[in-house]
């Protein structure tokens, strides 16, 4: 399988949201919420964005307090934390602002990414700290969750009003599946097989990649024609493991 990052419709929506954030009207609205089920490509997309931009990435913990959060933030930037919370907050602001400034000079995006934000999206103290950081230096802050962040934020209107962009990562559609196959699979795949992959994977990227690996394994020792590997060619072969039952799903012999 080729190691290539594929711009699916989710990635495009994410990039559009970030572009819209840069051209925002209310300057204090710097929060972006990304939601979606596990396995739809949130982490892969964020990892690529953080790697390319050098942004600060934190994984929220269930028991986070504002002080713990700021300590982790300073640690991520390799800054020795001062003693009092007030000084820690000031230091974090200063360091983030420096990095933001340096990114702006290089015309590169920069932000703070907080993954697993479901853990903190119902805690007002942390949210207020994040909002303050984001507001004071107009720092794009991306909260990544698994579907509950928006619901939780509705309880805090002062924070919810700062969310300028909401991106919901959806399951892949046929166009996404075809793009993933075209970019990552080392053998050509016919349309009927791509449609079957969509059906058995239910649009989850993890399953799609598993299917691509299986198609490739089969295709590299099969004499396929110009249309690529078809559904008929792969009859009887395992294509993916079912997410819920963990049972292997085979391509049917007769359709």
């Amino acid at each position: 399988m080729k190691n290539k990052f594929v711009e699916t419709s989710n990635v495009k929506r994410f990039q559009t949201a970030l572009s819209a954030l840069e051209a925002r009207g209310a300057e204090e609205a710097c929060l972006v919420v990304i939601d979606g089920s596990p396995g739809v490509g949130k982490t892969t997309t964020l990892r690529q964005w953080v790697a390319q931009t050098g942004s600060v990435y934190l994984r929220a913990k269930k028991e986070w307090t504002p002080s713990w959060f700021i300590n982790e933030l300073l640690d991520a930037m390799r800054v020795h934390p001062p003693h009092s919370f007030q000084k820690k907050f000031g230091k974090a602001l200063e360091e983030l602002a420096l990095r933001q400034q340096s990114a702006a000079m290089e015309r590169r995006q920069f932000g703070l990414v907080i993954d697993e934000a479901d853990h903190v999206s119902s805690k007002s103290a942390i949210l207020e700290t994040i909002r303050d950081l984001s507001d004071i230096i107009e720092l794009p802050t991306i909260l990544v969750g698994m579907g509950r962040v928006n619901d939780h934020l509705a309880r805090f209107p002062q924070v919810a009003s700062r969310v300028s962009q909401k991106v919901r990562f959806e399951k892949a559609d046929l166009a996404d599946i075809k793009a993933l196959i075209a970019e990552r699979c080392e053998v050509p795949v016919a349309n009927d097989l791509a449609e079957f992959v969509l059906r058995v994977s239910q649009g989850f990227n993890r399953e799609v990649l598993e299917a691509i690996a299986n198609i490739e394994r089969f295709g590299l020792r099969f004499d396929y024609d110009a249309t690529g590997i078809t559904l008929g060619d792969m009859a009887g072969q395992v294509i993916v493991n079912d997410r819920r039952s963990s049972q292997p799903v085979k391509v049917p012999e007769l359709l």
């Binding site: 399988m1 190691n3 290539k4 990052f5 892969t44 990892r47 690529q48 953080v50 790697a51 390319q52 050098g54 990435y57 991520a76 930037m77 390799r78 340096s102 000079m105 290089e106 590169r108 691509i212 690996a213 490739e216 394994r217 590299l220 020792r221």
Partner: protein
């Protein structure tokens, strides 16, 4: 309002007699208040032009006497070469982006890192990242995990999985191939 450096210059000239003068004596002889005298004396000591003989008592050093004889005027600005390591923005290289991706990942395979870090302009990102991770592993920044990820090819032994154990900071350590060492700009030192 006095010009920058005017106060320490005035104090330096007042101390020219060569004997140790207390703040009380200086307060009586120069047109400066005690706080200004104390701050200016501190500046002279920092520059090596004066020394504190005992608490609240200052006298010029040889360098200080020579400076007054030369008619030197203390100005604002640096008084010694700036030797601290320059804080430069990290270059946007494949290895820097790969390091960014490793820092945010728990465990990772080479494919994960290449996908996150590579750009269209990179020559051979797979080989480059592989060499880089190998150097980091030799320098004990990265450990290889005992269980491999499932491979995709028919005869694959699986993908090696790694974990970053020494996350020293935002700047990617530089792998020096010939000396088989890694230089870490975050720590300003070399790892074996």
């Amino acid at each position: 309002m006095k010009a920058p450096g005017e106060i320490p210059t005035a104090l330096m000239q007042a101390l020219f007699g060569g004997v140790c003068l207390t703040i009380d004596e200086l307060d009586a002889s120069v047109d400066l208040n005690r706080r200004q005298i104390s701050a200016a004396a501190g500046q002279l000591v920092l520059r090596g032009l004066a020394e504190r003989v005992e608490r609240g008592c200052y006298q010029l050093t040889k360098a200080g006497i020579a400076a007054v004889e030369r008619g030197e005027v203390i100005t604002s600005g640096p008084y010694r070469p700036h030797t601290a390591p320059a804080r430069r923005a990290a270059a946007n290289t494949l290895r820097q982006r790969a390091w960014n991706a490793m820092r945010m990942s728990g465990t990772f395979t080479l494919a994960d890192i290449v996908m996150a870090a590579a750009q269209a302009s990179d020559g051979d990102p797979d080989a480059n990242v592989k060499r880089y991770v190998r150097q980091l592993a030799l320098a004990e920044y990265v450990v290889e995990l005992p269980v491999r990820g499932k491979g995709t090819a028919l005869t694959s032994n699986g993908f090696k999985r790694f974990r970053l154990i020494k996350n020293t900071g935002p700047i990617a350590p530089v792998a020096r191939i010939r000396s088989k060492t890694v230089h870490d700009h975050n720590l300003a030192r070399q790892a074996p």
